[in-house]
């Protein structure tokens, strides 16, 4: 039986009087590609930040491969949150080398990751000269450094052209199939999620309003769930 890669239990976070995430409980099984959907402002990014320990949750518990310690649980995680940020004055390769040092990962993993996202030929250019799509690729390369067991990606194809989106999708599917990487991906693009994910959770106003396998009409499920939650 497959164990859970990621489990959140009663996760909540408020900003002032506004509840950004409310009692979020979900589990992502090892090896699956899980889509995290929801309208703008639903709380997806806040939930991801809580999971990654970037912000503290008010309540609830997060476990990644059974580990709940906020530092230890990141050991097998690669992540990209919103638009990735870099040292603009350093090259793409140096940015990744920096991240590899921080994570205690071998420097050889830098070239592998750059090759995987098709950035090897521009790796020596300063990150400040990269286009939005290239920055997304570099962010993805940083996330896959050292082949993590769990990838947490927040809008990974944001700003990419259709070819770039297809390439990223192929890369993620390959990682899931060949390396058994578990992928937790938030996105607005239902068509992309439909092609990539095996299961989705839909978040609206901070609450998980639906969870389902991707085997039918995702758009109907999405519209029905968010409409019900809004009513």
């Amino acid at each position: 039986m497959a164990s859970d890669a990621l489990v959140t239990n009663g996760l909540s976070r408020s900003f002032g009087h506004r509840k950004a995430v409310s009692d979020l409980s979900l589990s992502v099984r090892t090896g699956e590609v899980y889509g995290f959907l929801g309208p703008n402002g639903a709380g997806k990014t806040t939930a991801i930040r809580c999971i990654l320990g970037l912000i503290a949750s008010d309540q609830g518990r997060v476990e990644i491969f059974g580990e709940s310690d906020p530092i230890e649980r990141l050991t097998h995680v690669g992540a990209m949150v919103e638009t990735p940020a870099f040292y603009e004055f350093m090259s793409g390769r140096d940015n990744l080398a920096h991240s590899a040092r921080y994570g205690g990962l071998p420097q050889e993993s830098v070239a592998v990751a750059l090759d995987a996202v098709g950035l090897s030929d521009r790796a020596s250019d300063k990150a400040g000269t990269y286009s939005l799509g290239m920055r997304q690729r570099l962010g993805l390369a940083r996330a896959i450094l050292g082949s993590p067991k769990l990838l947490i990606l927040d809008e990974p194809t944001n700003g990419m052209d259709p070819r770039g989106m297809a390439e990223v999708r192929q890369l993620l599917l390959r990682m899931a199939e060949e390396q058994g990487t578990t992928i937790f991906v938030s996105s607005h693009l239902l068509a992309e999620v439909e092609k990539l994910c095996s299961r989705v959770g839909i978040l609206d106003r901070g609450c998980l309003v639906a969870e389902s396998a991707v085997d039918g009409d995702l758009e109907s499920l999405y519209l029905r769930s968010t409409a019900e939650a809004g009513s």
Binding site: I55, L74, F89, H98, R101
Partner: protein, 263 residues
Amino acid sequence: MKRIIKAEAVVLRHRLGPKALLLVAAIIPLVVVIGYSTLASQGESGLQFNGQPLSALVSISGQDAAALALHGRNFFVMPLLLLFIAGQSLASERSTHVLREQLLRPVARTRVLWSKVIVLWALSILSVAVNAVIGLGLGGAVLGTEGEWGPVWWGHAAAIGSDLGIILFGFMLSSVLRSAAGVMAVGLMLLGLDWAVRMGLSALGFMGLESARTMLLFMPGSGLDFYRMEGGVFSIEAFACLVVWSGLVAAIAHRRMGRMDTP
């Protein structure tokens, strides 16, 4: 922690601030030595003040040049640059989300903070060494070695402690502010305020108010002035003041770093 220190050192090497800091650390003693040697060479025919040649009024020796270069370094320029680089290393990284990317790795936030502190402190030690080599070495070679060198040597050593105080102060400000410019501006404002209060207390002390002299000992700037080695003696009060204030700002920065939300 060694790998994070190494990663931070690489980033610092790429920034312009550290290069400017080392350049300034070299230029200040160079300008002072050149200025003093020019003054000494002019003799009777040079600049005059109250009918007396300036070279006769000012003590000119290698030791004097090195002491002045140290004061020039620590009085304004170095605090300014250290505050700016501390602000770049934390406050700016936080607002540009680069810090977020670092915290996505399995490292304790406080280790990230202390790695940044250690790397910047190492840079400041290097700048003290540059200042000392040019100020003491060139000053002695060009202007002679007469005078008491002990206090100047110790002053350079003590500057390492004063720099750490400024660095910790900069990181404390960085943990609450969002830009390097903000850290520099607020830092200089607070240091300026401290300087003004100390001037006032000194004046009151001079007029015989004993409690003002006592209060003066506890001002943060009295600790940061540890490098001055007033009268050529090690001041245990200044050292204790530096340790206490540095410990306080370090504790605030440590606590803030551990708890702050990372956007």
